[in-house]
Amino acid sequence: MFLKRAVDISDLAAVVTAAFGTWLLWAQLSGISKLSWFYDHVEYVQSQRESPLPNPDYDLASLPWKTTQVERFDFQPGAAMHLTTNTEPYGYQAFAAVDTKGAQLADLQFEADVESGGVTIGVLESGKWIASSASQRRGRFADANSVLLGYHRSITVVIANNNPEGQSRLTVKWLRLYLRK
């Protein structure tokens, strides 16, 4: 009786170990494959930084922008966004929180014109930067960024000042956010 019970437990342990091993191997393979696909995608998105990708989930006009106490925020849907920041060197100026709708990956593309100072444009998740592009040079500033999303349900697109001297002035010509499942 005791022996039979021991054999049963041993068989059960073997089944559990086999299942665990299958899961482990699958998890390793799928994790690294997903990451490899992500970096392939990053390469593709970055190669497209000069031309907008099709079918964004959000663009400059459809993002629900809110601002902090900026000096000037001039934005009419369908037109460019003109922004003069406050004097806080790295303070957030304009931000738009959106639902990720279960997406695993987000792409952000934009083109801006920095007239003075500097700017950081990127994505926050749970209050932390998960993607950002920064420029402290006057002139055209365009970039494309991809980022893997965590399990949080929302992300925030942020335009932040990036000028240790104080105020910055810029025009965001276009900005697109893509949520990939």
């Binding site: 068989d11 342990a13 073997a14 089944v15 170990t17 086999a18 665990f20 091993g21 299958t22 482990l24 191997l25 390793q28 994790g31 690294i32 494959s33 990451l35 490899s36 696909w37 970096y39 392939d40 990053v42 390469e43």
Partner: protein, 675 residues
């Protein structure tokens, strides 16, 4: 059916571990694809006219050069080759300053580009003849000499900034290395569980050679963290730009210089007429063997050969231990101990004797396993087996003398009933000691059977615990030499100085017994906190240590030993295999422990003695039979685990105990001076 699936998963896991590690071989040991052979002429002009500027250019491996100036200014490098059509990519790694401007003239100058010290840079070259490279320092922002850690010319760009990978090539090298190590760690731990369900016969037969290769693979994964050309510096570049720039005799180059001179016919000396006072001859000989097998065209080649031989030695020693331990333990237990020994942090990338103590200890444990197996079968012990045991101890002694206390005690225990057999270890000791003593005597004029650095080690060991004593600071040879010179005109490296230092340290112990208690306890806690697995902790280990801190792992393994002893389960086997824990580690509680770099044998022994019993049914039967003793042992270990650190804190804060002088007058001790 489930067992068949586990068997397949086990094989897949082992195959993945082998692939992940073995593919790093070229990255670690070569560092770059084959370079185009070029000649290099370097010159520099100082930014300040009145200052002179010198430049040193050294080809540290075929086609890769280290070039350094000694003043601020412009570095000009003329590169010429017989194969201009192949010279299409310039590889540069700048170390200092933070940025320089590089202009290539070939023969017409191109627009200057900015180089930073953030890592390797590849600059496309026109397919022409000789070219001139000008490196300019932007003085106002980055004053200082220019140091190019590597400069080489290559035909193709592939393999210079990224490793060329068949699978998942898009993942950047640093991220890939992290993923690979974490994945391999998980798979290694899975094989430990899976081995329980494998056919014992097959595992017993194939595990030793497979463990050897798996160990080699895990060693390479560890090495790639420190020596990846894409993330850090490859092995050749590391040695050319670091340890080999130091004077001969430093920690990481002493053995290399000694062996190179030996191979060149100048004996086991570090420089002309100088034998190392603080080292045994074994490591110099080991490096010489490495150079003979794998090349010694330059010191960099010799360093690479030595690291390779160290890695092979570690892997082979693990295989030997596994084969011998199969007579003592279940195959699954041997596999588990073997995988863990292959997985723990190692010191293999560093060319110092401590790197080969772990494999030497494995050979001792293997020889002891063979002897214990015969003892358990109540068979007579042939003299050949005892000779093997003591030959393995002698191997450690040739490398480092700290084995002596443990060797003596183990010898007495083993031969308590056959005193004549003590002649074997005595003979080995005298042969090794007398040979080295006689060899050194030609240069030093005095005879000593081992090193003459015990006094220095005791001196340095005193001050590795926080205290108000004046010498409590980072210990160096120079600090010890200064102290000896203040006491006596005797040569600090001599046996007489060694005796003087030892006497003074013993007097200090007797003067401040409280300090000795604090020192021993603190060093013991450092050991238990993870120092017993010395070496650089990589992602391979971090993935486990982040879940279970090293202290709790060590205490858990010690608890297994405590339970074995408490329930009288295989006491002799456990104590003999764990001998470094009881007889070698305490040596460094009173001597110089150097942040634990001497402890590698202790960590290995802990795993070898404590892991396999967990895979034995009889162990659990013994625990069940003597539940009370087992519970007491576990309870004691739990109490110790919980109270050990608060006790350390209390001891360190207790000045009354620390500076208590009950026996001798502090005024008589030359070490009893305060900051």
């Amino acid at each position: 059916m489930a067992r068949l699936v586990i068997g397949i998963e086990f094989l897949v896991a082992v195959a993945v571990i082998l692939y992940a590690g073995l593919r790093e071989y070229r990255n670690v040991f070569d560092g770059a694809p084959q370079a185009v052979p070029v000649g290099v002429e370097a010159s520099c002009s100082a930014a300040v006219v009145s200052t002179s500027c010198h430049v040193v250019a050294q080809e540290f491996t075929t086609g890769r050069h280290r070039i350094a100036t000694d003043a601020v200014g412009t570095l000009t490098v003329r590169v010429f080759t017989d194969e201009p059509a192949r010279a299409r990519n310039l590889l540069v790694r700048l170390a200092r300053p933070a940025t320089v401007k590089l202009a290539v003239s070939s023969p017409l100058p191109t627009e200057a580009i900015e180089l930073t010290n953030a890592g390797r840079v590849v600059v496309p070259l026109p397919a022409t003849g000789p070219m001139t490279l000008s490196f300019d320092v932007d003085e106002p922002t980055a004053a200082g000499p220019i140091v190019l850690e590597e400069l080489g010319v290559f035909e193709h760009r592939e393999g210079l900034l990224n490793d060329t990978r068949r699978f998942f090539p898009a993942i950047p090298p640093a991220r890939y290395a992290t993923l690979a190590q974490r994945g391999v760690a998980a798979l290694s731990m899975f094989t430990v569980i899976a081995a329980i369900f494998l056919p014992p016969g097959a595992l017993k037969r194939y595990a030793p050679p497979v463990l050897s290769i798996v160990c080699f693979s895990l060693c390479l994964l560890d090495l790639t963290t420190l020596f990846s050309p894409f993330v850090a510096r490859d092995l050749r570049s590391f040695y050319a730009n670091g340890p080999l720039l130091e004077p001969p005799g430093a920690n990481l180059n002493g053995g290399l210089h000694q062996s190179m001179r030996l191979l060149d016919g100048h004996g086991l000396t570090t420089t002309d007429g100088v034998v190392p006072w603080e080292r045994m001859p074994g490591y110099g000989l080991f490096c010489a063997i490495a150079g003979t097998f794998f090349g010694h065209r330059s010191l960099v080649d010799l360093a690479t050969s030595t690291v390779l031989l160290q890695t092979l030695f570690y892997s082979a020693a693990l295989g030997v231990f596994a084969a011998a331990a199969m007579q003592l333990f279940t195959p699954a237990g041997v596999w588990a101990a073997g995988i863990l020994i292959a997985w723990v942090p190692k010191q293999l990338g560093f060319t110092q004797v401590d790197a080969v103590i772990a494999p030497a200890a494995l050979l001792i444990l293997a020889a002891l396993a063979i002897r214990i197996a015969r003892m358990r079968r109540a068979q007579p012990i042939p003299i050949g087996v005892d000779t093997l045991v003591h030959a393995s101890f002698a191997l450690w002694f040739v490398l480092r003398p700290d084995v002596l206390p443990g060797w003596a005690v183990v010898s007495i225990v083993l031969h308590a009933k056959q005193w004549r057999r003590l002649l074997i270890p005595v003979t080995f000791f005298l042969v090794v000691g007398a040979a080295w003593g006689a060899y050194k005597a030609r240069y030093t004029g005095e005879f000593a059977l081992t090193t003459t650095s015990a006094g220095a080690s005791l001196f340095c060991g005193l001050f590795e615990v926080p205290s108000r004593f004046r010498f409590a600071q980072a210990c160096t040879d120079e600090a010890y030499f200064d102290w000896i010179r203040r006491l006596t005109p005797i040569q600090p490296q001599s046996a007489a100085a060694n005796s003087l230092a030892t006497r003074e340290v013993l007097r200090f112990w007797a003067t401040y017994p409280g300090h000795v208690i604090v020192m021993v306890y603190d060093k013991m806690m450092q050991l238990l906190n993870g120092d017993l697995w010395p070496g650089y902790v990589t992602q391979l280990q971090v993935v486990v240590f982040n879940v279970v801190p090293r202290y709790y792992l060590v205490v858990a393994l010690l608890s297994v030993i405590a339970v074995c002893l408490a329930v009288r389960y295989e006491r002799a086997r456990t104590l003999l295999l764990a001998w470094p824990l009881f007889l070698n580690a305490p040596v460094f509680f009173v001597m110089f422990a150097s942040f634990g770099r001497f402890y590698s044998a202790v960590g290995i022994a802990l795993l070898a003695a404590s892991v396999p019993p967990l895979f034995e049914r009889d162990f659990y039967s013994a625990v069940w039979t003597r539940k009370g003793q087992a519970a007491i042992a576990v309870a004691c270990m739990v109490v110790f685990a919980v109270t050990a650190w608060p006790i350390r804190t209390w001891l360190l804060a207790n000045n009354a105990l620390h500076y208590w002088t009950p026996i001798l007058n502090p005024a008589d001790s030359v070490l009893a001076t305060f900051k």
